[in-house]
């Protein structure tokens, strides 16, 4: 192990103002263990009294080398790592990865699997936004919000557990479709949720949307204009709150999103309050998609029957020699993917979640890169916190909804 050097101001002098070098402003360390940094994010703040002059994010505390690890596994086995990136959106990560694999090897997905994927990913979006609204409230001292939001999130996680046996790290979406069909109780569980949830959103809105303390803390705070947002690669609700109508589900529909009727909420203010409104509205829209997808859920297989890429079901192994060979080959050696690279992106709860996947003709990916939305969304933070108070920083950071597992990979 090499000696860890002490960090000196010399290394940061291009990032702070000259007044810091003269000792006129104060440098303050915020995090990495801080309840309102939503994980392990460290911020170096340059303060003039309570006002922020500069903020320098320091990331990498959760870096686990997922991209490197995925290169050492076959396409099927590497998927397990995708759940662990953005732990608020495991099913979305599965979908992004599987879509990249399907594009690389040219694999079709049956219609039933597509519709179920949409239902699951939209439920996941609601669950992710619920965690966000809960922690957002918590950061602004609305404690009860957190408890309400987690109560509803539990109902969604119960649905995931019903399907896959796991609450969070499901790996339920597989290249070519789904691991297995949903159980018979699935429809009732989702319908109960659809019935219950709109009233609950009304409750949240009654608590927060017109709350004067809440408005005082949010309106006009952390303004982000569209040009800066685009240059920084900001996507998702944070971009849409700045007046740019860009949602990959509408712009480049995947998994049959073009069949569903839903709106993309857009606000033009670009402040913290606009980002709050966009996300709350998005939960309602997601619910609409879930309901439509459930109403016209087609019957049929849930995974492709292409045995060169998709392992056969357990039941075939005892009766078919071919199935046994495929099972053995796919789970040991894996399937070869052609030489070439694809980039495939989905709209995750935080923005454009892209997977760059490169095959080299062998059974393991040559390169997997995760274009994670939180990484680019966080990079705009130093721009929008300047001139605000430290207490506002907490609100702004919460409003861009970062997940550190998503940033550090």
């Amino acid at each position: 192990m090499t000696q860890i050097e002490e960090v000196s101001l010399e290394q940061f002098k291009h990032l702070v103002s000259e007044r810091a070098l003269r000792g006129e402003t104060m440098l303050l360390n915020m995090g990495p263990q801080h309840p309102s940094t939503h994980g392990v994010l460290r911020l170096l703040l340059e303060l003039d009294g309570e006002t922020i002059v500069n903020a320098v994010p320091d990331i990498g505390y959760l870096h686990t080398g997922v991209e490197k690890n995925m290169e050492a596994k076959t396409y099927l086995k590497a998927e397990v790592m995708s759940d662990r990136l953005d732990y608020m959106n495991p099913l979305g990560n599965n979908l992004a990865y599987c879509m990249a694999v399907e594009k690389l090897v040219d694999l079709d997905v049956p219609p039933r699997a597509q519709a179920l994927r949409v239902i699951l990913v939209e439920l996941q979006r609601i669950a992710s936004h619920l965690v966000w609204i809960g922690t957002f409230g918590l950061d602004l001292a609305a404690m009860s919000m957190f408890l309400y939001a987690f109560r509803e999130r539990e109902a969604i996680l119960d649905i995931f557990e019903l399907c896959s046996g796991q609450r969070m790290m499901t790996t339920y979406i597989r290249p070519g479709g789904l691991w297995r069909d949903v159980p018979v109780e699935f429809e009732t569980a989702v319908r109960n949720f659809i019935k219950m949830f709109p009233k609950r959103i009304d409750e949240y809105e009654a608590l927060l949307t017109k709350n004067p303390v809440f408005l005082d803390r949010l309106v006009g705070i952390g303004k982000l204009d569209a040009a800066t947002a685009l240059s920084h690669g900001v996507t998702g609700p944070t971009l849409r709150a700045s007046g740019v109508n860009w949602d990959l589900r509408k712009a480049r529909p995947y998994m049959g999103y073009e069949q569903y009727d839903f709106n993309v909420p857009v606000r033009t203010e670009g402040d913290t309050y606009a980002r709050y409104l966009v996300r709350v509205q998005e939960m309602r829209e997601s619910l609409k998609i879930v309901e439509q997808a459930l109403n016209k859920l087609p019957m049929g297989p849930v995974i492709s029957a292409n045995r060169k890429f998709v392992p056969p079901p357990r039941s075939e192994l005892g009766v078919s020699m071919e199935a046994l060979i495929h099972h053995f080959k796919l789970w040991t050696e894996g399937f070869p993917a052609p030489k070439g690279s694809v980039y495939s992106a989905i709209e995750s709860p935080r923005g454009e979640l892209g997977v760059y996947l490169e095959g080299d003709g062998g059974p393991k990916p040559h390169r997997v890169h995760w274009r994670t939305p939180s990484f680019d969304n966080l990079s705009v933070l130093p721009k929008i916190v300047k001139g605000h108070l430290v207490a506002d920083l907490v609100a702004i950071l919460a409003s861009i909804d970062i997940v550190l597992g998503d940033i550090d990979r």
Partner: protein
């Protein structure tokens, strides 16, 4: 290829002598390191590619010329188009001019590529590592960087391995 993308690729071909390839409906245009800033500026200003969606690299070790590809995935929101630029970089002294003046996303993305692949970006305003801790040697996503493993400890060699294990002992 998309009809709307064709004139753009043609301009790049004429202006930068660029080659391109198509795979699964995606267009990858190859330009040299010297041309990349000009090409990105042209695409942003003239063809409305407002966003640098993703930027990464890929290592083709043991091949040395070129050893790396630096990859720029561009998106146009107005035209709903995507194009990928790829810059081949040689293994000895890998260097590419920085794109931070064209897209601000490139700032952190280039730091990440430097951290992971050791490709230097000339003129970068903040050339520090971003994800790995201070004091790490090498660049983890290079193909010649080992993945790392832990030696299994059995009763007969437990103490021997314990001695060289890099964790704090009492």
């Amino acid at each position: 290829m998309d009809n709307k993308l064709e004139p753009i690729v043609k301009t790049l071909q004429e202006k930068f002598n660029a080659t391109f390839e198509e795979f699964r409906g995606e267009v990858h245009v190859f330009v040299t390191a010297e041309q990349i800033v000009e090409a990105l500026t042209l695409l942003r200003d003239k063809y409305d590619f407002e966003m640098l969606s993703a930027m990464t690299a890929s290592d083709y070790w043991p091949q040395q010329t070129p050893r790396f590809h630096v990859i720029y995935q561009l998106t146009s929101l107005v035209k709903n188009l995507s194009v990928q630029l790829r810059v081949p970089v040689n293994g000895d002294q890998p260097k590419v001019p920085t794109a931070t003046r064209v897209y601000e996303t490139a700032n952190w993305r280039e730091r990440e590529i430097f951290d992971m692949f050791g490709i230097e970006f000339e003129g970068h305003p903040d050339p520090r590592r971003i994800l790995t801790p201070e004091g790490i040697e090498g660049h983890p996503l290079r193909k010649d960087f080992p993945l790392g493993y832990e030696e299994p400890q059995f009763t007969f060699n437990f103490e021997e391995i314990d001695l060289r294990k890099p964790y704090a002992k009492e």
